[in-house]
């Protein structure tokens, strides 16, 4: 059962050097970003794209009739959106890979330990309490309230799960997952209560938020989220080697000098930080954190020095690509991004499961 066995010890020798799959996956990211910049409801020819970028850099000027509109679409809408999509996809998938390793459970993903449900509860609270926003509220507060509440909700739920599962500095992965299920149910009930109390307009906002979208991403939002996302990504990358050792078993990892509790705490916190920041701006985006690490393991083996950075690269490329599809499939309207990722991700995942059963 190769698909569902991240617990296998990293194999050596037989595989390609790990730089090869990583290089292939990493090459996908700039390709996806280029596609995201060039494709959309407002047509921009590749040559015009180059000219617009050059004009921004001070080389020449863009003077054709449509240039100013295309410039605005490119730099005010598509670029922050693509950059955030790449960072968010990397965080969701990288976080999923790390959490799967930590719990030695291939079904673990950031949603399972409460982060997404807590963020949804935070967002629901902001939508129901603040729509319409009080008259005294300045514009920045109206814009910041929802992402801030979602971020805090995600962190709080993760902290609650971790706090419940942690006893005397030790955390049993099974308890952590069970606590995650319970906190998920509780946060879901809270969101359900708020949906019940919501009026029609609030309910519709809430529904759209739970389906995910990158449509609200601006430079301002990216500026706030990017440092959190980058910190989370770098921290998770640094966890790759100790996570490999953890796969040998907790006791073995301790013998090899790994402070297992500290590794668990750090990984959960880094994941909650990054996923919370991503989900706060984009809403809930299904399946990336679960499916992408499995794909990378299939292509590059179970070594976390491949799985974690590889998942980040593939997650980034996939989310940016899914957003291109969401923006263009029904233009000039837009599909919810979470719908696109789940529509593509879920059947593919089922196919993988089926194949794994056959190979068994």
């Amino acid at each position: 059962m190769t698909l569902l066995a991240p617990a296998a010890e990293p194999r050596r020798g037989a595989r390609l050097p790990r730089a090869v799959p990583l290089a292939v996956l990493a090459a996908l990211v700039p390709l996806a970003v280029l596609a995201a910049l060039g494709i959309g409801a407002v047509p921009i020819a590749p040559a015009d794209l180059l000219a617009l970028v050059a004009a921004r850099g001070g080389w020449g000027t863009a003077t054709w009739a449509d240039a100013s509109r295309q410039d605005a679409v490119l730099f005010a809408i598509r670029l922050p959106r693509a950059l955030f999509g790449a960072l968010a996809g990397a965080t969701l998938a990288g976080g999923g890979a790390a959490v799967q390793a930590l719990f030695r459970n291939p079904l673990a993903d950031p949603a399972l330990i409460g982060t997404a449900a807590g963020a949804a509860l935070g967002a629901a609270t902001a939508v129901v309490a603040l729509t319409p926003a009080p008259a005294w509220a300045p514009d920045w507060l109206r814009l910041a309230a929802l992402p801030a509440a979602a971020f805090l909700g995600g962190l709080a739920a993760t902290a609650a799960v971790y706090g419940i599962a942690n006893r005397d500095g030790r955390t049993a992965p099974a308890t952590l997952l069970l606590a995650g299920i319970a906190v998920n149910a509780l946060a879901g009930a809270g969101t359900g209560l708020l949906a019940f109390a919501a009026n029609d307009a609030q309910l519709r906002s809430l529904t759209f938020w739970t389906l995910g979208s990158l449509g609200s991403v601006t430079w301002q939002g990216l500026g706030i989220a990017a440092p959190l996302l980058v910190a989370s990504l770098l921290g998770l990358l640094a966890s790759a080697r100790p996570l490999n050792l953890l796969l040998l078993g907790e006791r073995e990892a301790r013998h090899l000098g790994i402070d297992v509790e500290r590794l668990q705490r750090r990984t959960v916190l880094l994941m909650a930080l990054g996923v919370g920041a991503a989900v706060a701006l984009s809403g809930v985006i299904a399946f990336v954190g679960l499916v992408v690490p499995h794909l990378v393991r299939l292509a590059g083996g179970p070594d976390h020095r491949v799985v974690i950075p590889g998942s980040m690269a593939l997650g980034a490329a996939l989310l940016v690509g899914a957003d291109v599809a969401a923006r263009t499939a029904v233009a000039p309207a837009e599909l919810p991004l979470g719908v696109v990722t789940a529509l593509v991700g879920a059947p593919f995942f089922l196919f993988l499961l089926r194949r794994a059963r056959v190979e068994e």
Binding site: V42, A201, G215, A331, P332, E334
Partner: protein, 285 residues
């Protein structure tokens, strides 16, 4: 003076000249909100509309427009792809980030305030007319709307009943009813009815027992809501509804969503039609 400077001066003079005399509405309009779209068409500017949201379903000509999605979940780039020069949006439009992105792209975005009342409708028409430089047409439209409203009131003056009306908004698996401070409440009162759930505020999910306790004489619903619920016959199979006076008399009034709740140029006609439904003794005369 150099030739280029002469040309520039000339252009500036011409520019101010034409700006002062401009009466043409902007050439490419995107309208967001069924009521706003309806007003733009009623003002005779429908030819300039290049796109609208999914709630814009009247007049029939709107069916041919590219639809930019639901008014609360707009896509900035999708709207920009229609090359609008002016976006007229109801105050329901959003999210705010999308409107900001549209403004950042250099498009004028004008938000039209809405209010569920006759004055709200008049104000809405006046605001849209002002944005389109059609103030005179706007005044005519407002006068016609107020005239139709006054005619509806005169017609209803002979009414002998004041039925208790329950507005039911059907959404998947649940019924919501409209209390105070809602569009349906305003329409029920304008048409001489009493809101059967006037003690609650806004839209609320209502249990079947509370529906029975509210004892409405008439049920008021939107045509799309009735369709979603499976037709008029299916309404009475909902728990509680059949046990009300309205259920026993099978009194169900179904009106088009935008017609009943648009609070636009057709307000007077909608009040007259609702009044005739609520007061059969008036319609019979």
């Amino acid at each position: 003076m150099r030739p280029s400077a002469v040309i520039l001066t000339l252009c500036a003079a011409l520019g101010t000249g034409t700006a002062g005399a401009a009466t043409d509405p902007p050439q490419r309009l995107v309208t967001i909100g069924g009521d706003v779209t309806e007003i733009v068409y009623a003002l005779g500017a429908g030819d300039h509309v290049v796109g609208a949201d999914t709630s814009s379903v009247h007049p029939p000509a709107t069916a041919a427009l590219p639809k930019i999605g639901y008014q609360r979940q707009l896509s900035a780039e999708g709207v920009l792809a229609l090359r609008p020069t002016l976006i007229l949006a109801s105050d329901q439009a959003g999210p705010p980030a999308a409107l900001d992105q549209l403004r950042a792209a250099g498009v004028r975005v004008d938000v039209i305030p809405t209010a569920d009342s006759a004055d709200g409708a008049a104000n809405k028409i006046a605001q849209v007319a002002a944005r389109l430089d059609r103030a005179a047409e706007g005044e005519r439209l407002i006068a016609a709307m107020r005239g139709a409203l006054a005619a509806a009131e005169r017609e209803r003056a002979v009414a002998t009943s004041a039925p208790r009306v329950l507005f039911v908004y059907a959404r998947a698996g649940s019924l919501a009813v409209a209390g105070r401070d809602t569009g349906p409440d305003a329409m029920i009162r304008l048409a001489g009815g009493r809101n059967a759930v006037a003690e609650i505020e806004g839209f609320k999910a209502l249990t079947s027992e509370a529906v029975v306790a509210a004892a409405p004489d008439v049920l008021l619903m939107l045509s799309r809501g009735v369709d979603a619920a499976g037709g008029a016959a299916a309404i009475w199979t909902q728990p509680g509804l059949a046990q009300t006076p309205a259920g026993q008399a099978r009194r169900l009034v179904v009106m088009d969503d935008l017609y009943l709740l648009g609070f636009g140029p057709r307000l007077g006609d909608a009040v007259r039609d609702l009044g005739r439904h609520l007061h059969p003794e008036v319609a019979a005369r």
